[in-house]
């Protein structure tokens, strides 16, 4: 049975969910964290719903075996199609997903909302659906930014080519007089600066990696499940199904910290 000292489980199909771990490190530094990335089977975005649900079930069982006290779905594809699978398996354990977290934060302060994400997430229509469930009057403008993930994973984060590509994608959105812009891909927080430079100061940039952690903090606080050990920092364990070339260095770029306990596991 999980308790206050049990870890928070965070999972993603790949590496992007590490931005959620970074946000946990920053906002809840005393919490222990288990990260799972299904690197061997990415990308999920092109797979069928039943396959994604099967993979998700395997992952959640792995996390439950780690005795997690809460789960964050740090993957837009899984949030869009397999959230129910996680909820069913998790039972009483709180589950937060990045799409619900992003939609909640955006609708709290805005009704003209932009969403940028991968083509798979945009085509799933998951953000507009989540936003309009919370505020049926909300106006949502979406833009797929296919190259952002590639640019980030290649390390071209402060490259002038990224400025040009970002301008190409974001300029059409600017005509919509948005009040908020959701970073609908867990990679995008790494280029917030570039995005902010183009969209300007009048549009609130919403990072679901941060809002998901705030939501979880509120829930754990309410149920008395926050780790009270404030004298030492949390312990972090990173589990992946494969370690491709450059994985560790890219991961540490996402995390802003070394990944000390990195282990390859199989969940099939």
């Amino acid at each position: 049975m999980s308790n206050k000292n049990s870890p928070i489980g965070v999972f993603d199909s790949g590496i992007g969910g590490l931005t959620v771990v970074k946000s946990l490190m920053h906002n809840l530094p005393q919490e222990n964290v288990v990260y799972f990335g299904d690197i061997a089977r990415i990308p999920y975005g092109t797979k069928s719903v039943s396959t994604i649900k099967k993979f998700t079930e395997q992952t959640v069982r792995f996390l439950l075996n780690q005795d997690v006290k809460a789960i964050i779905i740090a993957c837009n594809t899984i949030s869009a199609v397999a959230r129910d699978t996680v909820l069913q398996l998790a039972g009483n354990i709180p589950v937060i997903d990045v799409i619900s977290a992003g939609a909640k934060a955006a609708t709290a302060s805005a009704s003209k909302i932009g969403v940028i994400a991968t083509p798979a997430t945009i085509n799933s229509n998951a953000y507009p659906r989540a936003i309009q469930q919370l505020n049926p009057q909300a106006e949502v403008h979406s833009q797929a930014c296919a190259l952002f993930v590639n640019m980030i994973e290649e390390g071209f984060i402060k490259h002038p080519a990224l400025d040009l590509i970002a301008a190409e994608y974001l300029t059409p959105l600017l005509k919509q007089k948005l009040e908020a812009l959701i970073l609908g891909c867990t990679h995008y927080p790494l280029i917030t600066e570039t995005i902010a430079k183009i969209v300007g100061n009048n549009i609130q940039i919403i990072d679901p990696a941060i809002t998901a952690v705030s939501l979880l903090q509120a829930i754990l606080n309410k149920t008395g499940q926050l780790n009270q050990n404030l004298t030492t920092n949390g312990n972090y364990r990173f589990y992946v199904t494969d370690v491709p070339i450059k994985f560790q260095s890219i991961g540490e770029m996402f995390l802003g910290h070394p990944m000390q306990h990195l282990e390859v596991v199989s969940v099939e």
Copy 2:
């Protein structure tokens, strides 16, 4: 049994091999062509050798059922790891692969040779191996250009961001005083102009999609297997295992022609 009017089979894991079809359309316009792209199972570059061999076997059986008179392996990954599988199944039918074709063309005129390709192809070391088999004295300098495929598939072919990215990748190679540069990825012929602008006129750019077709032409000519019907243009059939969003428009960008007979098949 195949004859002079039988089609030439061209296959790739994805869409890039269409540059070979384009080269066939241009240089051997009377030939009939069957193209196979295993779109449902891309990318091959991250799969195990045994899986790639199994997929290749399925594909070659499909092509042989189409009664092809020759096969072009229009995929660097398959050329690198499963050429033997194709040769075994093809029997007496001539088989050309893009790596051998590129290496042959480069060593014919140069001994300081550059290779640009995807990270998977560069890491396979297949080009240096093929080049040094032909000329053990040849000097090979390789450069992975991970973003080129993404930029091309997103249609950013003449975008100023591509100029910046290409300069980033190619500038280190220019210090090597290369005599020839092999486009070691079937996507790259679409951005030859950008590459040529950076490498200048003194480096010969070698496109294996073109040299593979020249090699095949010489073989078919020698064996009397060229299609003699010079009054009508060849017939083209495109078979794929999946048709993702934008596939047809991207394919037609590669081909420079409409893809009229496009059919989804299963080869499993």
